[in-house]
């Protein structure tokens, strides 16, 4: 603090550290008071300007808003603070079933999906499929209650490498592939006992006949 240069540098460092550690933006006057030099707000302002110039273009900048100074991350780097991290997650069994039903029966209402699956479908399951970008709301069915109906998206076809939904294997092909082999009675019992009943007795029948 002997020469002017040295004392200026010391003030610069003090202002820099104080603003860095401060929990709130600070006015030049408050900084001067904090640094024990209430008579020299001008010197503090000079230091603030010098600091602002030093940080210009760096990853951090010193900004003044309504007379209050604070450090912040450079605005063009704001995307670094909010980073999206994509985590691969396997679609749940329920969601896969719902997706398959939408693909085979589209457009289809939630009640119809439930009827086909034989169990109630959680609201979140369709949300997950829409978040994944594979299912969309395609309108409303013109029946009483005007239920929302769902359909697949072009992203769905792209993800599964399909030119169109017609490329999905038919029921006969599924049977040939052994994917429709009867399950044993215990399993049926479990399925029936575990899940809530379909919304109506008749619907599964109709819906199932659909694809034959």
């Amino acid at each position: 603090m002997t020469g002017d240069g040295a004392s200026e540098d010391a003030l610069l460092r003090a202002v820099e550290a104080t603003l860095f550690a401060a929990e709130q933006p600070m006015a030049a006057q408050a900084l001067a008071l904090h640094l024990g030099m209430p008579q020299s707000p001008g010197a503090v302002r000079t230091a603030l300007d010098a600091l602002r110039a030093h940080y210009a273009g760096r990853g951090i900048e010193l900004v003044e808003r309504g007379g209050l100074w604070h450090f912040q991350t450079a605005p063009d780097l704001a995307h670094l603070l909010r980073r999206e991290k994509e985590e691969p997650r396997r679609l749940s069994r329920a969601a896969t079933e719902v997706l398959a039903i939408v693909a085979y029966h589209e457009p289809v209402s939630r009640a119809e999906i439930e009827a086909i699956r034989g169990v109630q479908t959680a609201k979140g399951t369709l949300d997950v499929l829409m978040e994944a970008g594979w299912v969309r709301v395609s309108g409303r069915r013109e029946v009483p209650g005007r239920p929302v109906i769902y359909a697949t998206t072009p992203e769905f076809l792209a993800h599964f490498g399909l030119a169109s939904l017609k490329e999905l294997p038919g029921v006969d092909e599924l049977r040939a592939a052994g994917l429709l082999d009867p399950v044993d009675d215990d399993m049926i019992e479990q399925t029936l006992g575990r899940d809530s009943p379909p919304p109506s007795g008749a619907e599964p029948d109709d819906a199932a006949d659909d694809t034959d």
């Binding site: 929990e23 029921v171 994917l179």
Partner: protein
């Protein structure tokens, strides 16, 4: 510390700030407090090793060159004087005193009468223990005196924080999709099958049938007469029972809505109904 007659003894040092213990108790200039102070500070030590270390430092020489004999004398004097002042001493202080007295006598005895380990070796080991403790005490003081985060150096006061929005990248393979549909179909089929096998007459069809037959009937009719004739599929006893039950509920429903009236002359007797005249 159960044997410690000075309950504060175990606690007081814990309360001391680092500055408080590092300076007055162990300063080389311990002479300032005089001998009298020594006895009053019995609470100040955490066990005999602590006291021995302090005594060793009072020799005002490098800890590596302290005289064990002098140290032993100081300790024993301290214990004696504490006893003279009727201060109760913890058992560990007395045991240490006994061992040090033994060590002293061994150190003074002629060499050839010694057993293993030699008293010199015992003294050396005591010495090393004091050095170890002394080293850690100094290290602690130096550690506490460093530029400490939150006391001497500070992190940013108001960091924006890094937020990571986790976005699920949903995975599903073509085969998973197709197999899931197969599972749905397989699960659905037996349900359908069972419905077909358990043939029923629905309430709706019973109401339709009963009310249309009532419309043409002129007089009382027995409920059973409303059932479909036992031909073809209607011979199935299960289905007939279902039809009877549904027709009965249909009759009740028609009576409730004022379209029919019911009569039964005796318990379990035939149930008759007829249309209510408009």
């Amino acid at each position: 510390m159960a044997a410690d007659p000075h309950p504060d003894g175990a606690i007081a040092p814990e309360m001391d700030s680092d500055a408080a213990w590092a300076t007055p108790l162990f300063a080389e200039g311990g002479a300032a407090r005089g001998d009298a102070a020594l006895y009053l500070e019995i609470d100040g030590w955490e066990g005999p090793l602590d006291l021995l270390l302090d005594l060793a430092r009072r020799q005002k020489v490098d800890l590596r060159r302290i005289s064990i004999l002098e140290l032993v004398d100081q300790y024993l004097t301290y214990i004696e004087q504490a006893e003279a002042l009727r201060l109760e001493l913890a058992a560990d202080y007395l045991v240490m005193a006994a061992w040090l007295a033994y060590l002293k006598s061994a150190l003074l005895l002629p060499r050839e009468e010694q057993e293993d380990p030699s008293p010199e070796e015992l003294a050396l080991r005591l010495h090393l223990r004091l050095q170890r403790l002394g080293a850690m005490r100094e290290a602690a003081a130096r550690l506490m005196g460093r530029d400490r985060l939150g006391r001497d150096v500070f992190l940013r006061g108001a960091p924006e924080g890094l937020r990571i929005d986790r976005k699920a990248l949903w995975q599903c393979q073509w085969f998973d999709l197709v197999r899931a549909y197969g599972d749905v179909k397989v699960r659905g089929e037996p349900v359908v099958h069972m419905v077909r096998e358990r043939m029923v007459m629905t309430l709706d069809s019973a109401i339709t049938r009963v009310s249309s037959m009532l419309g043409v009937a002129l007089d009382w009719m027995e409920l059973r007469d409303f059932l479909p004739p036992a031909r073809e599929s209607w011979t199935n006893p299960q289905l007939r029972r279902s039809a009877l039950a549904s027709s009965f509920v249909a009759a009740l429903e028609l009576a409730r809505t004022g379209k029919a009236e019911l009569a039964q002359d005796e318990t379990f007797g035939p149930l008759r109904l007829r249309a209510v005249a408009r």
